[in-house]
Structure formats: structure tokens, C-alpha cells
Symmetry: C2
Subunit: 389 residues, 2 copies
């Protein structure tokens, strides 16, 4: 059932020739009937026109779908780039017979290049809806939005009679041109507008907003959910659990995909003053190049973790004598008498795991947060330095 | 004259066996007469006892020297580590016949291990002052504080009759265990206390506080200057220029040393609202893994620079249409008609340069700041993942 299309959604994918390899690079996901939606976008100061248009369209919670162009971000392309994004949206909306304001636009890939507009418009102007040929599922959509991802990322869940399917494409570690993240969810579950927005925000905050591969924020990050209610009402809590499991699964796929990354790192911070402090400490650790390379090398060098915690200089309530650090279940700080033995256990743990858990207890309060990232490998450097645009 | 010892300073270096390779790992630099001093230290929440002791000693501006132990940071070592740092300081002060409060302590290397105290104290308790044997110069001192630096870093300047010599040891890119930075300056120039403190702070802010190799802040960073006035008064502005040139030279040595780093990156930001904004933007660019790998691969992918500028999300006065970006003298953004030609020029510039300048004009105000960093290479990952502690 993974990749299943919720009822009342139609998918279209096609190669419009952004690059010359015949791969699908255009993708449309849209509900056949009006839908509710929620969306979040990059906060980059260099956000592209796709993000700007989508932010406007998403404001009223009435978007029913998205058109995605992959392998060209359409960012830093000036007035011409804005005009092109509008033309892509309007031509798609016309083909689907919906209002342009019901459609989001997303794009991902190299920065600073114009779209090849004649071939894109040729395709969209000849498009019938529903599209001719075999119906596509969400797997095809996940494949069409890839840039340098090594595999498509999609997951589905059932909530009573309803289906929820999410797709995503990679971030930095597997993305030579940009740490670009796109993720879209389609569901036929019925939720009222406020619940949908609240649930989506809560889940994004602890999944996609908790993943960090290389600290490079994309100009194109977009996440949206479309719900057309065709399966009727569902229990909101059950829906939130389903969305959480699908989103978390996609986040883990992203953090562990690709030539560059080999190990998922999960940093679980507890005992913080509040959730914000827990997140700050978690990010300091998961983003530390020295922690990331130690995990890659299975080096039981826990000193790098305390160094990274120490970087939170404004958090003057963090006191070394209250902090505890573990790798998996193995406590490493404060150090004890069996230091050498524990280092050996940590080395063995790091060698065996393809998912490393670093636990930190700050010993201050009740705040907790978990962040996700990956190791730093020669493959990341190779991929990002040898790729020529 | 580089490495010259300003008059009235005595240097001692020796191997006390922190590791078993016979390399010098203990270093003492001290003025024979009382001195004035200024110092700055890491703000890490996991600062070690060396930093804590030194911060206290430096407070009155009367330190006359420093004892450094290299290749063991003495950090995260608890009460025992604090006792050991105090013992090192007190034994050294006793050997030199000065008050413990006149001596700074610094340490750098692996975290979470206790000093081998018996052999350190054996050495210090047998030490005569001035030390027996050939006098050492600042080159020997620069060598004794190295961890995995590939070469010692020292520079001297003349100010009238006075000498100023600075030494430093590496940061992250060349330092498998910690992004640890130590730098010390000795001078026989006479400056009043307030001038010395103000000049030192100003110069550190635009040199050592403007360098960033891998965003990992050390638990041991320490910088200090000792001035014993034996060469008499100097022109403060001339002294500041000399200190700036020595400090900047050391910063560039640090950013370009080592197996890991191959190219110095200098990001010059102008047209900012203020200096703080210019520094924030510069750091976002110089720390971006995607910019760093692009420089390493001589990839003219300027899109990564605008992406990195875009990460300054709180700076809502940064507008893409006002920003200009150049590599060396070659303007790349806003893009122009001769796009392909400019990409070729940038690629040629990146291939040829071992010092890459990225210029950014934000088009807002008069604020400017320059930051220093280096590229990200397979060597960095190798060094930091394969080194076992």
C-alpha cells in the first residue's frame, strides 16, 4: 500500500527535459474535488518565486494540489524567473480546470538558471486532465521530484477508512546543488480546517523541522498536505499519529539516503529548561562536523559531544557537573572508573549501528526534543566538490 | 627575526610524555620582570579548569606568562582535573619564583583524560629558572604547543625599538580532537594598561574572532598578550598595526595549514546595516559546507553563496534585488548576459587561487566585516574520522 493514491487524487509525471536524460522532471498532484490544505515554507531571504507564489496560495487553506519542477530551482533568476513561475502555475491550472489560487508551485535543483520555458509550456498546453495513459501512483510522483536522491521516498498509512500518503526528496548530504527539501502529503481523510493546520504544524515541527544534514537551508524548502475529505471524518488523534509516523519515516529515509550519508544520528535531549533549549543543544551536537566525523569513523570520542554542548554559550544554566551523556544505552559522561571498557563498548556500538542514538540529560528541567542528522563522510565532500554545474 | 624573543622574556620547552613520541609538550613563556597583559578566552559551557584559572589570573592585567600543556585538554575531568591544573600552575610559579596569580595556564588536546601528573610534577619540581641549556626562541614555543598542526606558526614585528612576537596553534580543520586554538603574544613594547587591553580586544575581534574552520568552538581557546615594557614606550597606533599584521598572519597560517585544508577563504562583506550583520552574513557563507566544498572542487556554483546569504532569516532587510556577489573581481550576481563566460572565469580563478576572496555587497548601509575560513576536503573527513583516541 505504500505509494497508494488516496481516493480522489490524480497524479501526473513527465519528462520535460530540464536535463537531457529522459527522466521525469515534472510532477502534478491534485485533488479532483476542492480540498483543505496546510503548508510551511523555507524562511530563506533568497526564497524563489515558487515559494512566494505558493505562500500566497496556501494562505487560505484551500489549495488542492501542487506542480513540481525538479532539477532547476528557479532561484536568483530575477523578474524573468517570477514570470516563468507564474506561467507554469497558470498553464497547469488551466489544464486541470481549477483556479490558479488552488495550486502550489515547487521547484528544486541548481540556482541561477532560467527554466527552458518553450518545452515546459508545450507540455502543459497539450495536457488533458485526467491525463491519458496508465494512472500514476505516488511512487511515480516521489521519483519525479528527485534530484540526486538515490531512491524515491514515500510512505502510506491508514486511518480507519482513510489513506494518507507522503512523499519527500532529499537534503544536503545527497544533494550537490542545494540542501533542498520538498515533501507533500495527500489524504482523503476529513479534518476541519483548524485541526488540519494545527496537526500539520505540530508534526512538521518535530519531524522535518528537526532534521539537519549540513546546516545549509534551502531557498526552496516546501512542505504541504492536501486533504479532500472523500473518506469521511477520522479521529484527529489517530490521524496525527499516522501523519507523525509517515513524516518521521520520510525524515529517516532522507537522513540515511545517498552516497554521502551512511549513518542516521538521532540526538535525544532531555532535562532541558524547555523544549527550545533542548532543540538548540540537539542541533549543536547533530551539526558538529567533529561529532559527525567521529560517528563516521566509529571513534568513541565522547569529548566531541561535550564540546558541542559547550557551544551553547548563552545557556548559562548548563553546568558540566549536571550533564549526562550516553551513546545508545552506554553512559560515557560523567566519566567513571571503567573508562577504557566503556570506550570499547561505544566503539562496538558505533561500528554495528546504522542508526546511532546520542542521549543527553542536561539535569535542569523537564524540556525534551529529538533531532535527526547524519554522519559526515568523504562521499559528501566528493559529491559536493566534484559535481560541476 | 620571526620567532625572536622580545627582551626580558624566557622560554622553556620540554617533553613530559603526554604521548610517547618524545615531542615537546610542555611550554613556558614568561617575562623576567613584572608585565602587563590582556587575554580573551572561550565562552564554551564546558571550558576546562585551565581556562577558569587563567580567566581569574588575567583579570587584573598583571599576568607575566603562561604554562601550556599540549595534547591533553584537561577538560571534562571533574574535581581531579581542577586540582591538577592548580598543581601545574603552582609548581611552575614556584620554579619561576613568581606568584601563581601572575601565571596563565593553557591546555589543548583530547577531552576527558586526566594528566599524567607524576611525570609532569617530576619535571616542574626539578626545573631551575632560567632553565639550563641552550636558550629557546619563540619558534620552539610554537612547536611545543602543536597538536596535529603540520607546522609551527609564529610571526614577529618591530615597532621602533620594540619587538612583538606571536605564536598560535591550529583549529578544527587540522585538529582531530578539538577545534582548539591557542595564541600568545610577547612584547617588550611599553603601553599603558588601558591601551594594551583596548588594542588587544580590537585586534582579536577582527582576526582570531573572525576565523571559523568548522563551527566547532573549543573548550580551551585562549589568547593572551604579555608586555614587559623593557623597550620603552611606542606609538600605540603603530603598535596596533603591528599586532594586527602579526595576528592576521597567524590567522591565515591557521586557516591554510594542514592535510585537511587546502584553500583559505576570505569573505568580505560590505554594504551591511552594521558590522554585526556583515559578520553574520560572512560567517553564514564561510561556514556553509556547500560553499566550502564548491571552493574545494573549483566549482563556479555561485548559487551556493546566495543560498548561504539567504540563511540569515532574521535579517529581513536583505533583499535579493539589492545584493551583489563577486569571486575575486568577477561579479557573478546579479546574473548577466555573459553568464557562461563568467562561470568559466570563476572556475579558472578558483583553480588558480590558494586564497579565494568572496565579496558580498548587501546594498543596505555602511557596515563591513571580513571573515576567514577554509575549504572542506576529503582530508578533513579522513583525519577526523580515522583518528582514534
Amino acid at each position: 500500500m505504500h505509494g497508494a493514491v488516496p481516493r480522489g487524487f490524480t497524479i501526473h509525471t513527465a519528462p520535460v527535459g530540464i536535463e537531457d536524460d529522459g527522466r521525469d522532471d515534472l510532477c502534478i498532484i491534485a485533488s479532483d474535488v476542492p480540498a483543505r490544505s496546510a503548508a510551511v515554507f523555507t524562511r530563506s531571504r533568497f526564497a524563489g518565486p515558487s515559494v512566494t507564489l505558493s505562500r500566497d496560495a496556501a494562505a487560505d487553506g484551500r489549495a488542492r494540489g501542487v506542480v513540481v519542477i525538479a532539477r532547476n530551482a528557479n532561484v536568483a533568476t530575477g523578474v524573468e524567473g517570477s514570470r516563468n513561475a507564474t506561467a507554469v502555475r497558470d498553464s497547469t491550472a488551466r489544464a486541470l480546470g481549477i483556479a490558479p489560487s488552488e495550486l502550489l508551485v515547487a521547484s528544486t535543483g541548481v540556482i541561477g538558471r532560467q527554466y527552458p520555458m518553450p518545452q515546459i509550456l508545450d507540455h502543459l498546453n497539450g495536457l488533458t486532465w485526467p491525463p491519458a495513459g496508465e494512472p500514476r501512483d505516488m511512487t511515480a510522483a516521489a521519483r519525479a521530484i528527485m534530484t540526486t536522491d538515490t531512491r524515491p521516498k514515500f510512505l502510506s498509512a491508514r486511518i480507519g477508512e482513510a489513506t494518507l500518503t507522503g512523499i519527500a526528496k532529499g537534503v544536503g548530504m545527497i544533494e550537490p546543488d542545494m540542501a533542498t527539501l520538498l515533501t507533500f502529503f495527500a489524504t482523503d481523510a476529513e479534518l476541519d480546517e483548524e485541526t488540519l493546520a494545527a496537526v500539520f504544524k505540530r508534526v512538521m515541527d518535530i519531524t522535518f523541522n528537526a532534521v539537519s544534514i549540513d546546516t545549509d537551508t534551502s531557498t526552496s524548502d516546501s512542505a504541504a498536505i492536501f486533504s479532500n475529505a472523500l473518506a469521511g471524518p477520522v479521529d484527529p488523534e489517530e490521524f496525527e499519529q499516522a501523519l507523525l509516523s509517515v513524516a518521521l519515516g520520510l525524515v529517516k529515509m532522507i537522513a540515511s539516503d545517498g552516497e554521502g550519508a551512511s549513518t542516521l544520528i538521532q540526538v535525544e535531549v532531555e532535562g532541558a529548561r524547555d523544549e527550545a533549549q533542548a532543540k538548540r543543544v540537539g542541533k549543536a551536537v547533530v551539526n558538529s562536523p567533529l561529532v559527525k566525523t567521529a560517528v563516521h569513523g566509529a571513534d568513541p570520542n565522547w569529548g566531541r559531544v561535550v564540546m558541542a554542548i559547550g557551544k551553547c554559550q548563552e545557556d548559562t544554566d548548563i553546568l558540566p557537573e549536571r550533564v549526562a551523556v550516553r551513546f545508545g544505552d552506554i553512559g560515557v559522561y560523567p566519566p567513571g572508573a571503567d573508562e577504557d571498557e566503556r570506550r570499547d563498548s561505544v566503539a562496538a556500538y558505533l561500528k554495528a549501528a546504522d542508526e546511532v542514538v546520542i542521549g543527553i540529560d542536561l539535569g535542569i528541567g523537564e524540556g525534551r526534543f529529538t533531532v535527526y542528522g547524519c554522519d559526515l563522510t568523504e562521499g559528501y565532500v566528493r559529491l559536493n566538490s566534484q559535481y560541476t554545474t
